[in-house]
Symmetry: C2
Subunit: 148 residues, 2 copies
DNA sequence: TTTTATGCAAACCGTTTGCAGAATC
DNA sequence: GATTCTGCAAACGGTTTGCATAAAA
């Protein structure tokens, strides 16, 4: 179950935050996209829905949603942060370097590696970050049809 | 074999670049540190060696070294880039969240996972990024001795 | 009606660029 | 002596903050 408007309302009120039109727009922009969006990209989308929102609000809303676990940051290579809808629990991203689509996967199974590294180095491992880069099936077929 | 002054001189001249005092200082700063350093941190260290270098030069040198494969970028969570000495070939980082020490490891063995994901999603996987976060053995023992 | 959220403008921080002088080859 | 490199200052882009107004509870 992915966050919906109802979930948004519930999450906000549970934590003492208010439900505003801007916050609904921002969530809508992210939900309706399968890519990871930079704050600027979210801003562009939100403006089409409601031209009166400011970029600053987008930043503040993204951070709030991120804290509340509704969305999550994607690290990646670029210089600005990106956000995408948060799936449930621990997961990782596979990012298409052409179109930016993000696919999630959850079963990373790094526990063997973690344990071995921990023993070898004495590190107490608290977390990890794993991302794959590549070209999604869509972009791969696009290239073929363009060439043809 | 890690890059030394000799290797630096060779690499630079092979690629048509000149060997300067600043470039030696920057490499020295990175070689003498086991942590990943931000450009600002490199700058601080370099200044102690030679107060006449500018931050701009540090940026340019870091990018150059990175292109030449002498050092490599660490992504991590922070807002600014970090660099550390480049080990040979494909590798990953284990980063201590307390002191910033970076330990390398090479055998990530994600090929099984890559292949499975590739089949499941149609992605053509070109690369990945894997980092572990935790506390290094040094910091773990420090806590004990401080408490004691 | 009290509290939180918004928008604007301006500050901020890390990074990049243009250009004249300095250093290397 | 030609070319590359450096340092300064200034521009730049993304992000954050202060504050008065507007909206939600």
């Amino acid at each position: 179950m992915r966050p919906t408007e109802k979930k948004l309302a519930a999450t906000l009120s549970q934590n003492g935050y208010k439900l505003t039109a801007q916050r609904r727009s921002v969530l809508g922009a992210i939900v309706s996209s399968h890519e990871h969006l930079t704050p600027a990209a979210v801003y562009e989308r939100v403006k089409q829905d409601n031209p009166r929102v400011g970029l600053v609000t987008v930043y503040r809303t993204l951070e709030l949603f991120s804290e509340l676990g509704l969305i999550c940051r994607v690290h990646g290579e670029g210089k600005s942060q990106s956000y995408t809808l948060a799936p449930i629990g621990h997961h990782h991203h596979m990012i298409c370097s052409e179109c930016g689509t993000v696919a999630d996967f959850t079963d990373c199974d790094l526990s063997d590696l973690e344990e071995r590294l921990s023993q070898e180095t004495g590190f107490e491992i608290e977390g990890h970050m794993l991302e794959f880069y590549g070209r999604c099936s869509n972009c791969r077929s696009q290239v073929l049809s363009v060439t043809a």
